[in-house]
Symmetry: C2
Subunit: 429 residues, 2 copies
């Protein structure tokens, strides 16, 4: 596959014009100003196009596609307990399989090739991921409401173990299992400690919701005399590479722990607005040298998987939070949406256009009235572009999406099946 005369975001996230980029198998094999002297099966003319790394969604619940817009406008607790949980209680493996596929269709439309996910019915999720050619770091989201229970008593643990043993590394490494703890307030220290030890023993990443709401943060301090970050750190979690989602209410010491332990902060700006959780201090994350990764969260609190939109919220919210228009550059936004997420997922050969890296690529149509003129292409991508400007999405060298066409899933069938699931569940409520 060869892209000709195309503008690219290079490995430093700088713009280079009139480049040739070649893909061989699942990797980028050439980047340069001249055409390589090899025969290519597929050639794409790059005039008016930008080739850049595909997006990595650092925290999501992708099968929640099925709940898009369900219970909107409610207060958080009512939304969860009166709407989301009762609906989810009816989800079958089949429901999740098709909802995940529809979520993947949306990921591809908006240029996402990989998602750090946390959800139930993992086998259905992984089947959808393997079949459609995308990537995931999946976690089950360990939950425990009975202090008497041990790790061995928890189905989430056995499920995580089963999925790890049967799926970790499959699809040429596209599927990775993370060990995931839902949150501090939905578990107890004993089981978390044992789960962390299990994660260490098998060498996986961890994934957790952390300081999303003020309530969660303050109640943790009341219960344990420490913040969620300090609590999980004391349980050893951060000795594993960890993605901490949200991080809205981090305190000074928490930032230092993240920096010292190399924890990734997966920030979900839209979701944090929608549920009125607050605004994460991304400026401080950068100042402390913490890896920042951008995420949509589930579509029931967003309500889409539009990473271009998410980049705009990401940068603009920091400007008003700090009352300083110079805070957070478009380049930082693009990095957080690509390399930041890839790094969090432990995919060190992804997220950057570089020879030898995995060919996870998107092509944007930048030859449109709302993206012209170009004083600064990075500004245009982050502040002016529309999610739908993504024209092509490629994962591990395979073209999965182009101009509304899906090459690895049957979109009509998927939409038909999710609608069937939705109607059935609503009739059961």
């Amino acid at each position: 596959m060869l892209f000709k005369n195309i503008t690219i975001l290079d490995e430093n996230f700088d713009i280079k014009e009139n480049q040739f980029v070649a893909v061989k198998g699942d990797r980028i094999s050439y980047i340069g100003p001249e055409r390589p002297e090899v025969f290519f099966e597929q050639e794409f003319e790059g005039k008016g196009r930008l080739l850049m790394p595909a997006f990595y969604n650092a925290h999501a619940h992708t099968p929640m596609t099925l709940l898009r817009g369900y219970g909107g406008g409610l207060a958080l607790n009512d939304w969860l307990t009166k709407k989301i949980f009762p609906f989810e209680a009816h989800l079958t493996a089949n429901d999740v399989y098709y909802s995940m596929q529809q979520g993947i269709a949306e990921m591809l439309k908006f240029g996402i090739v990989s998602t750090t996910d946390m959800y139930m019915q993992g086998e259905s999720i992984l089947k959808a991921v393997l079949e459609t050619g995308v990537k995931t770091n999946l976690g089950v989201g360990l939950v425990c409401f009975d202090p008497a229970k041990k790790l061995e008593d928890l189905s989430d643990y056995h499920n995580s173990k089963y999925l790890f043993e049967n799926y970790h590394g499959r699809g040429d490494g596209r599927v990775l299992m993370d060990m995931s703890v839902h949150a501090e307030y939905t578990s107890f220290p004993g089981v978390v400690k044992d789960f962390v030890d299990y994660s260490k023993s098998i060498g996986t990443n961890m994934h957790v919701h952390l300081s999303e709401t003020q309530k969660e943060h303050e109640e943790c301090k009341q219960r344990h005399g420490k913040t969620p970050a300090q609590y999980f750190n004391d349980l050893g979690m951060f000795d594993c590479p960890t993605t901490a989602a949200h991080c809205v209410w981090l305190e000074e010491e928490d930032f230092d722990i993240f920096a010292e332990k190399g924890v990734t902060a997966a920030t979900c700006p839209v979701s944090n607005l929608k549920l009125a959780s607050g605004i994460c201090d991304v400026k401080k994350l950068y100042e402390k040298g913490i890896n920042v990764a951008l995420a949509t969260d589930g579509v029931s609190s967003n309500n889409n998987l539009n990473m271009i939109e998410e980049m705009k919220f990401f940068t603009l919210l920091q400007k008003v939070k700090h009352m300083d228009p110079t805070v957070i550059t478009p380049k930082q936004a693009v990095e957080a949406a690509t390399r930041g997420g890839a790094k969090a997922q432990g995919r060190i050969d992804c997220g950057v256009l570089k020879v030898g890296n995995k060919a996870d690529l998107i092509v944007l149509d930048i030859d449109q009235p709302h993206l012209l003129p170009v004083h600064s292409l990075l500004d245009n991508i982050v502040y002016s572009a529309d999610g739908s400007d993504v024209e092509m999405t490629i994962c591990d060298g395979k073209l999965l999406y182009k101009n509304g066409e899906y090459y690895s899933l049957d979109i009509e069938k998927v939409i038909y099946e999710t609608e069937k699931s939705r109607k059935r569940i609503l009739s059961q409520l």
Copy 2:
């Protein structure tokens, strides 16, 4: 023109499915569940489509298309004085004519048919508006930096007067001239008072920047012992129907003045984030019964004219400002982007789907993976949709845009000419 079997947003902004909507001349002639027994030249199948009122942009500087992304990331004062003003000093009538056309192309792509604009080279703007079939309430933006000057000495006044006398009401009322004062800090009470009296004498609307930044707001209080709202009210401005743009720093008494005088607050959520101005208290505007209209501001501080994106920022920012996820509904957002703006422009027969109203319509493609399933279509439009989901834009019954095609402007020529302007001006700086 007939839309068949289409979902609509009715005059109460509620969803109605399987409707027939007919357009005769420039007006909506029929809305109902059955096909009217008349012959139609054009018929559109409405399956998987939403027909709704087109957007009204309540505050913009549309020709600033040419400055998209120019000087991004600078602090406000540097941005204005070192980048924007020097660039604008080189603008010719021809530059503005084509920049306005490109701005109109972007308006149409994102479903906007009318803009409350404030900019220089008014005749070029109006030529572009009249030729392309859109609408504007244009103001010159009166500025005066010499306290010795009288209204009669100001070219902005004579220009406003000339444009009013020669253009007001043209294009079957598509063009309206507003008398516009740039802001409190760029004028003096004497000339403002006389300009307001002139506006009253000819019965036009007024348009002004008001309490956009804290600096502007506080310095006004120091200068005049009152807020900008109180200052302009005392000068009689609000006896004319007025659009006040931004309104970020309004105080209690200001809200009451707006309510009493029927001032429209044109809120620009994205621009106010981008320039770190703050977050307008929209919740309070609604509580006081003030007309709220949504606006993009110029693309150099946004950086697009994407009203769907703007609706999302509009609602979500209020949730976090008030730390309450129930604040501001999707319906309020859609109203602010349509009827709110039309009302502000004095176009009482626009902004709502109603028989007899002007046919200012957009069609959205709602049959896409990121807009399904539909638990709540209004939630999907405001929180999930993408600007590019606008498939068709119709103004005064004329189809001006459909799926990337423009019917009233030559997009290639427009882009070529704006790029030529951009290069020339940069070479002059």
